[in-house]
Amino acid sequence: MSETDNQRKRMALIASKGTLDWAYPPFILASTAAAMDMEVGIFFTFYGLTLLKKKLDAKVAPHTNPAMPMKMPFGPAGFQNIEWPMPNIIMGNVPGFETMATSLMKKTFKNKGVATIEELRDICIESNVKLIGCQMTMDVFGFSKDDFIEGIDVAGAATFLEFAAESDIQLFI
């Protein structure tokens, strides 16, 4: 690329989680860093690997997120501001609760003008963010390369660590 590549900042991210709420940080950070002319690589490992699937199906799990504010993304303003106390016994035992919570979260994000994970991932690809799938995770969970989007690399820990060793920003998500 340009001769000032040695001055260009580099960021290495490890994405280890696959729920909807945890899908946002790596894609937001990567797309924004790329917009700021940084070189970015994301290593998707364990549940993070599901974020490279052709069809994204990330859900949010409220019963493992006690800090999640539960507000309704519809209705009059006063109603929308209510934080609903949700006992674990309901969250963990009502079938379909996770699906409902995922729908509500997506609606909330849409209301507030937040990009979808798909949009952010597309922007990462357009901006030449390196998307790397963890070879070991693929083997362990029985994924094949066909399950994933085009243009990803597959590598192991040592390969990614070499990239990370030369990075200015290294984050584990």
Binding site: T32, V114, A115
Partner: protein
């Protein structure tokens, strides 16, 4: 307030972080050096974000104005 004649106008009203920055980057990539972009956002975080973006990328943030709930930015491509 100085009167600017922008070459491109980008409406980011109603969009949350990081979309204002991502869309600004995308449109600036299509512009020629010296051209002026006017971007409008309703995200208060855009004020600091646009400063950081222009510092990092070397583009010139000529002015940022707060008007009602809108934040208006004039950026020249360098």
């Amino acid at each position: 307030m100085t009167e600017y004649q922008e070459d491109q106008y980008l409406d980011c009203k109603g969009l949350s972080c990081p979309l204002p920055i991502l869309k600004t980057k995308k449109i600036m990539d299509t512009m020629n050096t010296g051209e002026l972009l006017k971007m409008v956002s309703t995200d208060p975080g855009a004020i600091n974000d646009m400063q950081a973006f222009t510092r990092r990328t070397g583009h010139e943030l000529l002015e940022s104005i707060s008007e009602g709930g809108d934040y208006i930015f004039f950026v020249r491509k360098t």
